[in-house]
Symmetry: C2
Subunit: 276 residues, 2 copies
């Protein structure tokens, strides 16, 4: 089963476009976990179990583990998701970008060590830098396109042959890199006109990973109108902090579940007219 097939099945069976970002920050652990030895793992497992009913997948962010030398916890998190929720998409957010044998080693990191279904990468080094990931035909390769931060415009909005660079990237990925139907694009919810332009450029089949709702302020209704495909689907709409830190007391997991359910429901309400 390829990443795209798995993701499509998860969208349908879970009736959810919500993806929960696993970005565990030790400074923001719930009070009851603060003095536990393996609080990072307890927190991640609690969030995964609480929110799994409401999501199409999980997106662990490697930086939060790497900053504190907790790669073994990330490995446990990935193992746990694959074992307990095998139908949910597992996207490793790593934004890797390198060439040749170095890129091959990054591909081994994400697909052999962590055994993720998909990875995020940067387009800056060009198509040959993506080949080691694309060589794993069952895996997903999600390329940065228009990121959710204001500074993303510094490069991504530069005009290239009459259109912004991010649309050139969208076109290039959809029509060259995606030969075997493995690619997706990262497009922020914070710029819905750009999101709409990317969807128009790439058509219905390319999945978009959309950060920027929740803590970053992107609007769910506008995001669905702009980014859904003609079946009212096609996005992994990511939320991290707004769900992970919805509560800080004994009911932190319950609060996370409620926040995930509310977000999924808001997404589904916004896309309902598009599915008709």
């Amino acid at each position: 089963m390829t990443f795209h097939q798995k993701l499509n099945a998860a969208w349908q069976e879970q009736d959810s476009l919500l993806m929960v970002g696993i970005d565990p920050d030790l400074d923001r652990m719930p009070t009851p976990l603060k003095h536990e030895g393996d609080q990072l793992w307890h927190f991640c497992r609690g969030i995964i179990d609480a929110t799994a009913p409401y999501v199409c997948g999980f997106k662990p962010q490697i930086a939060y583990f790497a900053s504190i030398g907790a790669e073994s916890v990330l490995q446990t998190v990935c193992d746990y998701i694959r074992e307990h929720y095998p139908k949910l998409a597992l996207v490793l957010d790593a934004k890797r970008g390198d060439i040749g044998s170095t890129a091959e080693h990054y591909a081994r990191e994400v697909f052999e060590r962590y055994q993720a279904d998909a990875v995020t990468i940067s387009p800056y080094m060009g198509m040959d830098s993506a080949l080691p990931y694309l060589a794993r035909r069952d895996k997903g390769v999600i390329v940065l396109c228009r990121t959710s931060n204001a500074g993303g415009a510094d490069l991504q909005s530069l005009e290239v042959a009459g259109r912004p660079l991010y649309l050139h990237v969208a076109d290039m990925v959809a029509n060259k890199w995606n030969e075997h139907g493995q690619c997706g694009l990262v497009v922020g919810a914070t710029f819905e006109k750009e999101l709409e332009a990317v969807r128009r450029c790439v058509g219905d089949d390319l999945p978009l990973l959309v950060p920027g709702i929740g803590a970053q302020g992107g609007d769910i209704g506008k995001t669905c109108l702009a980014g859904c495909n003609s079946q009212g689907s096609g996005m992994m709409i990511n939320s991290s902090r707004a769900i992970l830190y919805a509560g800080s007391q004994d009911d932190w997991a319950q609060k996370a579940a409620e926040a995930a359910k509310q977000t999924r429901d808001a997404i589904n309400a916004a896309r309902a007219p598009l599915k008709a």
Copy 2:
């Protein structure tokens, strides 16, 4: 002491622009180490000790450690370089690119966990994605500009307002991101005309990290002519595989030392006329 001051001192005191990339591949370990339990560490330490007399610094590539779960070895390698060769520059090649709190976690990884002097990052997400690194004023931030792979042209050579994107990046980094004199650029030795254009664009003071000689085929003489500043300096010319795997038998460390000395000497011969 800032990264730039440390690098300038290393260039002078070592009389070398050569940087050795620490990219240890388990498949290419010297025969005598193949059956040792901690061959990765023995190999790295052997390479560091053998080549240290001939280099301005070392550039460990994190992917080679991450692919096999050997972050603890990378930590030991960085500790060893700082302790035994405190005057040499320690650049962590990570090509990171992310925003906000995630970028802050990557900055902690490189500057607190590994305590490198500088890091490589991607420009694609814009200036705000570089701020967590730039906030460490004594640290170096080396931004991808024109990479050494052919596919680099896919994005980097696109025309933006009459010049290629990589020159726009060079200009932006030199004149906006470099407010506190911390920045450098990655420019491949495999495209010497582009290297020359970048040097002309950024002036004398911005250090260039130049991969692509050795295994990738870049010419040392042309590289020095194209990329040196007006003092015949200003580059970290990186070689990895051609030095690391110069020998595979009992004399592997000696062979690496000879390859490093020869490369340093070839660089110095090529830049001698420029220093006059």
